[in-house]
Amino acid sequence: MSQKGTGSAYFIEEKREDLVRHTLSILVDNEPGVLSRIAGLFSGRGYNIESLTVSETEHEKHLSRFTIVTKGTPMVLDQIKNQLERMVPVHRVMDLTVEGEPLERELALIKVAGKGEKRIEALRLAEIFRASVIDASIEHFVFELTGRTAKIDQFVAIMKDLGLIEVSRTGIAAIARGPQGMQGRTRD
């Protein structure tokens, strides 16, 4: 079905605008269902989620912080921010990518099994990547690795040939550079 050329409201996405990747930080009340509210907004309105991380960050104030990596046209990214901001339990939305290159880290647990030369090679590479061994037997290791997504991707790719069994990753946690906190910044 050819949908191009109608230019109707239904096919706005068909205009091939360049998609850009942005990292958002969202401060919310840590109340039941808040994750489904945020995730439901993205699925309901057809936005992308590349990575989503959430945890309570301020226990006394019941505040949780989401880090969401999303992709869209500049108009859609503005929409995402505005749609998030109008949700009742949302305190603050910050587009970290707009603020400057954000600091992004991910944690991965990587299980590798094998014997002999491959096992030694896996351990050697883990040292190079500064992964630590958090569980081991004579036939396996579990590595813990923290870093940028690309670094983890690379490590996982190398481990494929050395007996990779499985990987668990947290998704990205991000924070803006500089002395100011998210709540200290003036609203734009």
Binding site: T6, G7, G40, Q79
Partner: protein, 591 residues
């Protein structure tokens, strides 16, 4: 003042403290404690609907005709799921409704208990916000918060789900003032950025071909916004059009009024939108029914957009001057600046613009051919309008051709007089909405303009209207088709009327009679005025007026799907063949 009560008592006390005089609902196992409290008091009246969907539409009608919050009380499971359509409807049209649902006791939640469903999960995407109350001590605060959120900012529906054990438990009541005035994170912006309004007024003052395009936001903002709109429009001398949702905010009897715009809007309104150099959007959201083909939408204009919801800005159409805030605040500031600025628009240019607009107006796009032996649907609405002039009249509609004809031919001079399902397009909205309106305005003339298909979607509410002696006038434009579906099949699908003809319609006169209402029928144009007069004279009971109209009438003018504002189909000279070819291959894929 804090004092101990049961959860059910807290609910009733909170409703009374919120000034609620009527609740639309239907009892069931999980709300029995609340119904028991309702029974023992007299402050809050209850209207027993016949299906929960009707309760929400009634609450919507109540809310839209009064500017207050509509309240619904239903049970768990099917009670809540039946309410979902109404919630989605109220969310799309930004109508403040508080829906209280019963829930199975806390310890049974998640057990697939009898009449259990995940109400907050199901209603999350069709409410502004919702709550499951697990602790009776949170109940009063949440209820007050629910009212606050429903009616403030961009209004919308909210759900409070209350498990049965919470209704029985004893807890502390807090009043509205102590409960929710400073919400932790919810702070809608009411006052617009002064510099944005200033820039807007500067652009308006330099306009040569301006047009106001207003929407439901003006009505939601309250009567003062409509008053201010009138003032600003008259002061500037600019033409004004409005969306379906905004009808009545500006008087339709005024000479600056161009009629409704959009898919079935007038030629002059759409051409003015297409040709303007400055568009002033107050409280409308560039819906696809308004814009038509989006890359050809008003190509040469500087666009000003006032909206209380920042997410409405730049959603469909990129605007030049966004103004986030309540319409009344923005209008007030615009008026102040307009008065203080010496720079007024070029009178000559404005005069030339009006000449152009009047040329489009002279096209008389709503013209239709009358028939000597058949009632034309447009004519039926015109006659109803004439017959109700001078009365205190409220109009509700269902969805389809009759709805568009009502918007075109019934003229509203005041806000809150017109209740229609705009965004969601819910057939079955009209009768329950009319019941809600009549409950709020017992002495007014409340008419529901409906179709033979729509009315059957919530016909059971006739029983409600009879029970409460509500004299709602249901005028059914009966063409035996789902008219708008049939029209689209004619336009798009080679006249193949797949399932759009109703083979076995009930005898509406006997049906009205069976419910205990009044049934009327009219087939002859000569008898129309008499039948309408008879309908309007009925007191204390609902009327079903089976108005037999020309079966195959089409609703024109029309912007076919995928076309722009200046590519309208007109009714007066279009042949069936032209109608059949009006929409191209690509347009057929659109809704």
């Amino acid at each position: 003042m804090a004092r101990a009560m049961t959860g059910a008592e807290i609910v009733i006390k909170a409703l009374a403290d919120q000034g609620v005089d009527v609740v639309f609902g239907y009892p069931g196992g999980a709300v029995l404690p609340i119904y028991d409290e309702l029974f023992q008091q007299e402050k809050v009246r209850h209207v027993l609907v016949r299906q929960e969907g009707g309760a929400v539409h009634s609450a919507e009608g109540y809310a839209r005709s009064t500017g207050r919050v509509g309240v619904v009380l239903v049970t768990s499971g099917p009670g809540a799921t039946n309410a979902v359509t109404g919630l989605a409807d109220a969310l799309m049209d930004s109508i403040p409704v508080v829906v209280l649902t019963g829930q199975v006791p806390t310890h049974l939640i998640g057990n697939d208990a009898f009449q259990e469903c995940d109400t907050v999960g199901i209603t999350r995407p069709c409410t502004k916000h919702n709550w499951l109350v697990k602790n009776v001590n949170d109940l009063a605060r949440i209820l007050h918060e629910a009212f606050h959120i429903a009616k403030s900012g961009r209004p919308g529906p909210v759900v409070v789900d209350i498990p049965k054990d919470v209704q029985f438990a004893t807890g502390t009541y807090v009043g509205p003032s102590t409960a929710s005035l400073s919400h932790k994170s919810y702070r809608p912006r009411l006052k617009p950025d002064a510099s944005a309004v200033e820039r807007a007024v500067e652009v308006m003052a330099k306009a040569r071909r301006p047009v106001f395009y207003t929407g439901g936001g003006v009505i939601n903002s309250g009567p003062k916004a409509s008053q201010l709109l009138k003032e600003l429009v008259r002061m500037t001398g600019f033409p004004i059009t409005s969306t379906l949702m905004g009808l009545g905010a500006y008087p339709a009897n005024d000479k600056q009024w161009l009629g409704m715009l959009g898919m079935h809007g007038t030629y002059e309104a759409n051409m003015a939108m297409h040709g303007c150099d400055v568009m002033i959007n107050i409280g409308a959201r560039f819906d696809d029914r308004i814009t038509g083909r989006i890359d050809a939408f008003s190509p040469g204009s500087t666009k000003i957009h006032v909206d209380i919801d920042p997410s409405s800005i730049n959603k469909n159409v990129k605007v030049d001057i966004p103004i986030v805030g309540d319409c009344a605040y923005a209008l007030e500031e615009m008026i102040r600046l307009w008065k203080s600025k010496a720079g007024q628009p070029d009178k000559g240019a404005l005069k030339a613009w009006w000449k152009e607009v009047d040329g489009w107006r002279a096209r008389d796009s709503l013209k239709y051919r009358k028939s000597p032996d058949k009632i034309m649907p447009q004519e039926a609405i015109q006659r109803l309008y004439e017959a109700t002039r001078g009365r205190d009249t409220y109009i509700t509609t269902d969805v389809g051709q009759h709805q568009m004809w009502a918007a075109q031919f019934f003229h509203f001079d005041e806000p809150n007089r017109w209740m229609t399902s705009g965004g969601l397009g819910t057939m079955g909205y009209g009768l329950p909405a009319a019941i809600g309106v009549q409950m709020a305005h017992p002495k007014a003339t409340v008419a529901c303009i409906s179709g033979d298909a729509s009315i059957l979607m919530n016909i059971q509410e006739m029983s409600t209207a009879v029970q409460y002696k509500l004299p709602v006038k249901v005028m059914i434009l009966n063409n035996q088709y789902m008219g708008m579906v049939r029209q689209w099949q004619q336009l798009l699908h080679g006249n193949r009327y797949s399932e759009s003809y109703t083979e076995a319609l009930p005898d509406f006169v006997k049906l009205a009679d069976a419910y205990g209402g009044v049934g009327l029928r009219c087939e002859n144009p000569g008898d129309l005025d008499g039948a309408i007069a008879e309908m309007l004279a009925v007191k204390d009971k609902p009327v079903l007026f089976d108005c037999r109209v020309a079966n195959l009438a089409n609703c024109f003018p029309m912007i076919p799907s995928g076309k722009a504002h200046n590519e309208m189909l007109m009714g007066d000279n279009v042949t069936d063949d032209e109608v059949g070819k009006a929409i191209g291959k690509e347009g057929k894929m659109l809704v």
